[in-house]
């Protein structure tokens, strides 16, 4: 694509911020991911970290940007370069979720606020396919797009001080999974036994920008089975190539 009008800004002395039109949009996401991969391929040694969000990339360099504009010029010409489709494979991940009310402690509030039945909520939440835009907030916290409008609900006015790891929740127009114990103001509708962050691995989070997530409803006994398989290291997450 490479068709967007991007803006380039200095962000302190050793970072550059690249911005797309400020929107949550799948075409923008694809362009962000494509450009990110190009940048990593071409500048890997100069880069400390590269953070992409809905409509931006921030590049943090080892060096301070002394030769002003040279780095930006190089990035601009890299963006224009037609490179044969980068070969980064994205996946759709099947994430088991138990929507039992023992875990989904805010389901009843969602039922009454949004005038939906328990079954409608689960059906709406688990039939959609969600796009992973980026990872932020907590290690392994996925920013997902694609939540059905009927499930939109304002964040709780009083955030909980402790939300359990694996909690599946809805806040505003977003849905997500808490990768670790945290404070949080989203409505909790279920729990997944899957770990989204493992600091013992060189690839600490299996998902990346551009991947997709599908929630698979499971009952309590399946939840327990998967949890014990995970603790024995014998559970394999189901994925399919996109």
């Amino acid at each position: 694509m490479s068709g967007y009008r991007l803006t380039y800004k200095f962000y302190g002395k050793s970072a550059i911020l690249i911005e797309w039109p400020s929107k949550i949009d799948k075409n923008i996401l694809n362009d962000v991911v494509l450009f990110k991969n190009k940048i990593i391929k071409n500048n890997a040694k100069q880069i400390v970290d590269i953070i992409n969000t809905y409509s931006s990339i921030t590049i943090i360099y080892h060096h301070t940007i002394n030769i002003i504009y040279d780095d930006i010029l190089a990035l601009k010409s890299l963006y224009e370069q037609e490179i044969s489709k980068e070969s980064v494979q994205n996946y759709r991940w099947d994430i088991p979720v138990c929507y039992d009310k023992k875990f989904g402690i805010d389901l009843e509030e969602l039922e009454s606020e949004n005038d939906l039945t328990y079954n409608e909520i689960i059906s709406l939440h688990s039939s959609a396919i969600y796009t992973v835009y980026f990872i932020g907030f907590l290690p392994g916290f996925l920013y997902l797009g694609g939540l059905d409008k009927k499930l939109h609900i304002p964040r709780k006015s009083n955030p909980r001080l402790r939300v359990e790891k694996g909690s599946v929740a809805i806040g505003g127009i977003q849905t997500g999974i808490y990768p670790s114990i945290s404070a949080g103001g989203w409505h909790i509708i279920g729990k997944s036994p899957i770990s989204f962050f493992n600091s013992g691995s060189d690839e600490p989070c299996f998902a990346k920008s551009g991947d997709e997530i599908k929630f698979i409803p499971i009952d309590m006994s399946t939840y327990n089975q998967i949890e014990s398989k995970i603790s024995r290291g014998s559970f394999k997450l189901k994925k399919s190539e996109l």
Partner: protein, 284 residues
């Protein structure tokens, strides 16, 4: 080995930080005051990235079960070896069964203890910096043991006293560059950012420093984007938050300023009630 007899208020193992995992949501962490930590490491001939103890506000007591060379830089937290006061910024030989203690602050907030070769604690994702949810431990606890390298006594212990820059602890001026949303501010807001002397609120830690004092704010909310240590955010209430080394990788408040590296290190030596003022420097 070093045994922790008393863990202090908030003592952590830190190196220069954890890099390469920001797009998985991993904060960079690392020493809050890079200037002081580098000084401590350099004085005893360590590498800049060797891990040290970051000791906030004192009350730490350590028993050395092995001899080594140490150096303490940063805040003066009244350090003593076996009850005898010792100098900052100087290489010192510690013998087996020596007790090193830190008491109350004379100046600054965070002291750095370097040992020869660095602390040999576990590396997680390329760094020894402690961070909740990444490392199994978040702060030092009583009776912890810290592994250190073997040190063979050398006769040529350079024990010259190195002077640190006292302004690092006393100057209220923090050098900053315009942040990504700076240009959205009005002339009045820009002037306020430069001229107001801000008090540091009691909400200050390794994640960020919340400042007292208000800036008028009618900026629209923005889509979540990347934030960095040293980013100054303007919240809807008009209060400023300066993000520090343990900050999240993304945030949704306008990023009005970005502190220089030196300014982040200076702010790390300030605490509740201290005053700061931003000095703006253009990027070019």
């Amino acid at each position: 080995m070093i045994k922790v007899l008393s863990p202090g208020f908030y003592t952590t193992v830190q190196d220069m930080g954890r890099f390469g995992y920001a797009d998985k949501g991993v904060p960079c962490s690392g020493v809050m005051d890079r200037y002081s930590a580098q000084l401590a490491n350099q004085i005893i001939g360590n590498n800049d990235n060797d891990s040290l103890l970051e000791i906030a506000l004192g009350k730490l007591t350590l028993l050395f079960e092995k001899q080594t060379v140490i150096c303490i830089s940063g805040a003066n937290l009244s350090p003593k070896i076996n009850e005898n006061s010792i100098d900052l910024n100087k290489a010192l030989l510690l013998k087996k069964n020596d007790v090193l203690s830190f008491e109350k602050p004379v100046f600054g907030v965070r002291a750095y203890l370097a040992v020869k070769g660095g602390f040999q604690t576990p590396k997680v994702l390329g760094s020894r910096s402690l961070y909740n949810g990444i490392t199994s431990q978040t702060i030092l606890k009583k009776d912890d043991y810290l592994q250190i390298s073997n040190f063979i006594e050398s006769k040529s212990l350079k024990n010259a006293l190195v002077k640190h820059d006292q302004e690092h602890f006393t100057d209220k001026i923090l050098l900053a560059y315009p942040g990504p949303e700076y240009e959205l501010l009005s002339f009045k807001q820009k002037t306020q950012l430069r001229t107001v002397v801000f008090n540091i609120s009691n909400d200050n830690n390794r994640m960020g420093y919340r400042l007292e004092g208000l800036i008028e704010n009618e900026l629209p909310s923005m889509l979540t984007s990347a934030v960095l240590p040293g980013t100054v955010q303007l919240t809807p209430s008009g209060r400023l938050i300066v993000l520090m080394r343990d900050c999240q990788v993304t945030g949704g408040y306008p990023r009005v300023l970005q502190l220089s590296e030196t300014a982040i290190s200076r702010l790390a030596q300030k605490t509740t009630g201290d005053k700061i003022q931003f000095k703006l420097e253009s990027q070019d």
